[in-house]
């Protein structure tokens, strides 16, 4: 009885699969629609990053309002994974095997991203712009995975070089979040300092749940550093700067793109963020850049929820989606995944609201072929 049930089920599923492939030339693309998926934590401890997905959503709506891409509308499917990899995997599978996504865009977080990376790559589904500057995306490079976010590692190198060469700092210390993000920063800083025959005077890890940073700041202070890299979350960056002020320790602080939302940082630090140098992967919120003004007017003001803020994380969602949209545009009417990969590989010095983005034809030994932004513009 079991084996006949087995055969029947197998036959039915084969039939369904056959039908599915018969209707669509490429999964997730019809004559009028392109389905694109994205995950982002709307709840949970990382929920502040949720605006990335909402930014992409507003951006796609703007494109649709302008007539879509070659007559096709972008259908954006986003879901909340609460920064829990098991949920990310569940959502990706549900959407991919249900509606069928043409491609995936952005997606916050290293752990959630790595949980779904194999799944997407085995099925040859393009994924553009994971929102984390981890080395994991490009080591080894994958044919269908295109990174946009500048590497935290490169950011750290650039900041250190700037501080040591241009501003003449002698003692560099780092306070970093105790995870992949922070460790990448430490690695970059160490390598760059080694080139100048210097060493970090202090490396201070912060755990995500810590709320009292006085011992950390004391360590920094006792090391006598004159430049401190803040490789932490915005919350810890603000507390570090504030606690340093309370302890009368005032080095030059430098921080990453994660903390480069200046209006927000100024507000939550009650004005102390003044004078902090931060790397950034895109224009600043109040930038007069014409494209930024357009996005703010057409995407943010028309399609974002009333209580949304025009902040870095929001338009980061646009930054990560820009190359994908450009690639789809270049494909023209004939949209397939292979074609998209080819067009993305052809991007050279593509200028959106971030730094210039370019990819190279796939080479398993060259990580930079899948790294879009190679240096941060302000670094």
């Amino acid at each position: 009885m079991r084996s006949s049930g087995f055969k029947l089920a197998a036959a039915v599923s084969a039939l369904v699969l056959g039908l599915a492939f018969g209707v669509w030339a490429e999964e997730g693309v019809t004559d009028t629609e392109i389905h694109i998926g994205q995950w982002g934590p709307q709840t949970g401890p990382a929920a502040a990053w949720g605006s990335v997905a909402r930014g992409t959503d507003a951006y796609f709506k703007m494109i649709n309002a302008e007539g879509g891409i070659h007559g096709r509308k972008l259908i954006h499917h986003m879901f909340d994974d609460a920064y829990n990899p098991a949920k990310t995997l569940a959502g990706v599978k549900e959407l991919q095997e249900g509606t069928g996504m043409f491609a995936w865009v952005s997606g916050v977080g290293t752990a959630p991203g790595l949980a779904v990376k194999d799944y997407l790559m085995e099925r040859k589904i393009p994924w553009v712009g994971p929102s984390a500057g981890s080395l994991h995306w490009i080591t080894p490079p994958e044919k269908y995975l295109f990174a946009v976010y500048p590497l935290y590692y490169i950011e750290a190198k650039a900041l250190v070089r700037y501080g040591v060469e241009k501003m003449g700092f002698k003692k560099v210390a780092i306070i970093y979040q105790n995870d992949d993000y922070g460790k990448n920063g430490v690695k970059g800083a160490k390598e760059e300092l080694a080139e100048h025959n210097m060493k970090l005077v202090a490396e201070v890890p912060v755990n995500l749940t810590d709320s009292d940073l006085k011992p950390h700041v004391m360590k920094l202070k006792n090391s006598g550093a004159d430049m401190v890299l803040l490789w932490t979350s915005p919350k810890h960056a603000v507390i570090t700067v504030g606690t340093s002020k309370a302890m009368q320790f005032s080095p030059q602080f430098m921080s990453t793109s994660t903390c480069s939302d200046f209006p927000l940082m100024m507000h939550i630090s009650k004005g102390l963020w003044e004078g902090v140098i931060a790397a950034t992967f895109a224009e600043l919120p109040d930038s007069p850049h014409p494209l930024m003004q357009k996005y703010k007017k057409d995407a943010f003001e028309k399609f974002a929820a009333k209580d949304e803020r025009w902040g870095l994380f929001f338009y980061a969602g646009i930054v990560f989606a820009e190359p994908l949209v450009e690639g789809i545009k270049r494909c023209g009417k004939d949209l397939t995944r292979e074609r998209l990969v080819k067009e993305l590989e052809g991007l050279k010095d593509f200028q959106g609201i971030s730094g210039k983005i370019g990819y190279k034809p796939f080479d398993p030994n060259d990580p930079s072929c899948r790294q879009g932004q190679n240096h941060s513009p302000d670094g």
């Binding site: 502040a48 006085k214 011992p215 950390h216 919350k235 309370a246 927000l264 939550i268 630090s269």
Partner: protein, 291 residues
């Protein structure tokens, strides 16, 4: 030596918040034997309410804070009355799960209303200015926290020791049935303890949110407060406070001299050691169970 003293001062400064949360947990635990995991979120709701009135309606601090403390009292009473009292034949684990459920609901409501972005509460005392005593620094906010904690502890002590209601509470926690036979309205007392505990927790929440606020801000203080309360004995109010300051100092010294990475876990190692010697904490009397 200077470093050592500074670390001790830092530890005391950090301990105040733990002490307030620990006190709040002990007050509830004493009367109902429930470790209240919703404690942090009860404070969170009140802090965000205060933020709303201060930041969005621009009301003055001296009007908002007392109002919010009153609200905290009512919230505590309401939760006890509407949820915990309704539990049929409660066992301790069931009650813990109910408080965790409450925690989720309150957290959900706050994040639903205010979003997840970091905020900061306008407050006259800056967390980033410091008082200098000799060569030691303590931030003015933390100096204030220390005073607030000591004052609250004093008030609680006097209240429980000398007021009629306080004595009734003590009677309830020692033997609820006997207290009821003596004419004490046990249920009302229980409701009252939830209210008082909520006010104490709310004070901690308000003080934390003057630095930075986000929906998850109360988790760490809650756990540390819980740990401090256990260290002190879970049923002893002075125990919770001493435990909290001890915890703060140990954390800071360990972070300074040994490993900053394990700073937040060393607390638990110390607790294991102490509990191995004194299974009911430092200050609680150890009752030997009878069969």
């Amino acid at each position: 030596m200077l470093n050592f003293l500074q670390m001790v001062v830092n530890g005391i400064a950090a301990g105040s918040i733990y002490a307030l949360m620990g006190l709040a947990m002990v007050i509830i635990y004493k009367t109902s034997e429930v470790p209240n995991f919703a404690q942090g979120e009860m404070a969170l709701v009140c802090s965000y309410l205060a933020y709303m009135f201060l930041d969005q309606y621009g009301l003055p601090v001296y009007a908002v804070f007392p109002a919010v403390l009153v609200f905290a009292f009512l919230l505590g009473c309401l939760l006890e009355f509407a949820v915990l009292r309704r539990a049929k034949e409660p066992n301790v684990l069931g009650m813990i799960i109910i408080t965790i459920g409450l925690e989720m609901i309150l957290m959900g409501i706050v994040s639903w209303k205010f979003g997840a972005e970091q905020k900061t509460m306008p407050f006259p005392v800056s967390p980033y200015d410091s008082l200098v005593i000799g060569k030691l620094y303590i931030s003015s906010l933390e100096a204030m926290m220390l005073c607030v904690t000591l004052v609250i502890m004093g008030i609680l002590f006097v209240f429980l020791r000398f007021s009629k209601l306080g004595v009734a509470m003590k009677a309830t926690q020692q033997n609820a049935t006997a207290a009821r036979l003596m004419g004490i309205r046990v249920r009302r007392i229980l409701m009252g303890t939830w209210g008082i505990s909520s006010v104490v927790g709310c004070t901690a929440g308000l003080l934390i949110s003057t630095t930075l606020m986000q929906p998850y801000m109360m988790w760490d203080p809650l756990l540390k407060g819980f740990a401090a309360a256990v260290l002190g004995g879970m049923t002893s109010l002075p125990g919770a406070v001493v435990g909290a300051y001890l915890l703060g100092i140990i954390e800071n010294l360990f972070g300074g001299y040994v490993s900053i990475e394990f700073k937040s876990t060393v607390a638990f190692a110390v607790i294991v050691l102490i509990l191995c010697i004194k299974p009911s904490g430092l200050f609680a009397r150890h009752y030997v169970k009878k069969v």
